[in-house]
Amino acid sequence: MQAGLPGLMPRLWRYGLVLSGNREDAGDLAQATALRALERSHQFKAGTRLDRWCFTILGSIWRNELRSRSVRRGQGLVPAEEADLIAPDKSETNIMATQVLSEMMKLPEAHRETMFLVYVEGYSYVEAAERLEIPVGTVMSRLSTGRRRLNSEMAE
């Protein structure tokens, strides 16, 4: 676990960014997740995936602790255009990539989280359903809504 955690930090931060929409909360989330993972390392089952285990912890910290704080500060609701997702001077970044990313961040949290888990982190529908504690059908309908929204936004 100790060997695996440092390499996971950027991915935890990114997941935190997808959920919170701002870099500061993302950092807090990643750090809180690492701390809890270390504290609970005895609960980690050898042979299972550390990244997935940490993602579950992160999701639960977000839902139970940080989301309310973030929303209270008004930061969780920052429109994605204003959220500094990609550093503005990254001129080498593909414009298309920046645009899709920013459109995805405008989706409701439930949709962008589901899209992120399935399309970026490679969860199967069933794994995403378990992780989010929702039926598989709901995962698929969130993907369908998310895809449709991205499709029409990108067409504009």
Partner: protein
Amino acid sequence: MTNSSFDPKDVADEELVAFLDGRLAPEEAAEITAALASDPALAERIDALAFDVDSLREGMAQLLADAPEIAIPRVRTTRKAWPDWRMVAAAVSLFFVGLGSGMMILPAQSEPGWHQAVADYQVLYTAETVTGAPIPAQTRQAGLDLVNQRLGLDLTLDALSLEGVRFQRAQILQFDGEPLAQLVFLDAANNPIAFCLMAASSPAQAATDTQIKGMNATHWKDGRFQSIVIGPADADLIRDMSQELMGKITT
């Protein structure tokens, strides 16, 4: 082969998503593929669900590359770590007793020893930690600027191009509330090596080679800083790096 009872209108959007994602059973996917050829309405529905997954992944990969350094918090007293910790504390206080000459014996628990803290941190590093997400040159420079500013140094990227290692990044950590600079290098075999230093007004002390947590280390004091070079790398390399770095920070 199309099933005669198959009607594209009955296909839910969710199913089309699974089709686009390549997660439908082969026979179901074949039905949709077959229907697509002759059913423009179905093709339109599919088009409306399409989006550029590759661009999303590319943007997301860029985020990883831009992720800030996030220090992993140290867990203080888990039950398992405790005996180990006490041994370390005892060893550290012995170390301080050994230094003798006017130095007070420090309370074992409040002074875990910064070498140990650095070592605890360093053992968590793998080559992947450092190479996993490439560090933009800008971030590297920004880290170095911060180190220079917090420790009153004047290090340049040129000064850090040392024999046999590649400088990767600089960051400020803290130990007991004091800024601790960490400069990470990789050797030819991608072993991560850290050069750490923090302010210390205690008298100069010659470089000493040692082993901490199975890693080679060289530490010294120059009257202004206390420094250590540590990593799971060759002892000679660590010593040579130390000699070179010593010259860079005593200006």
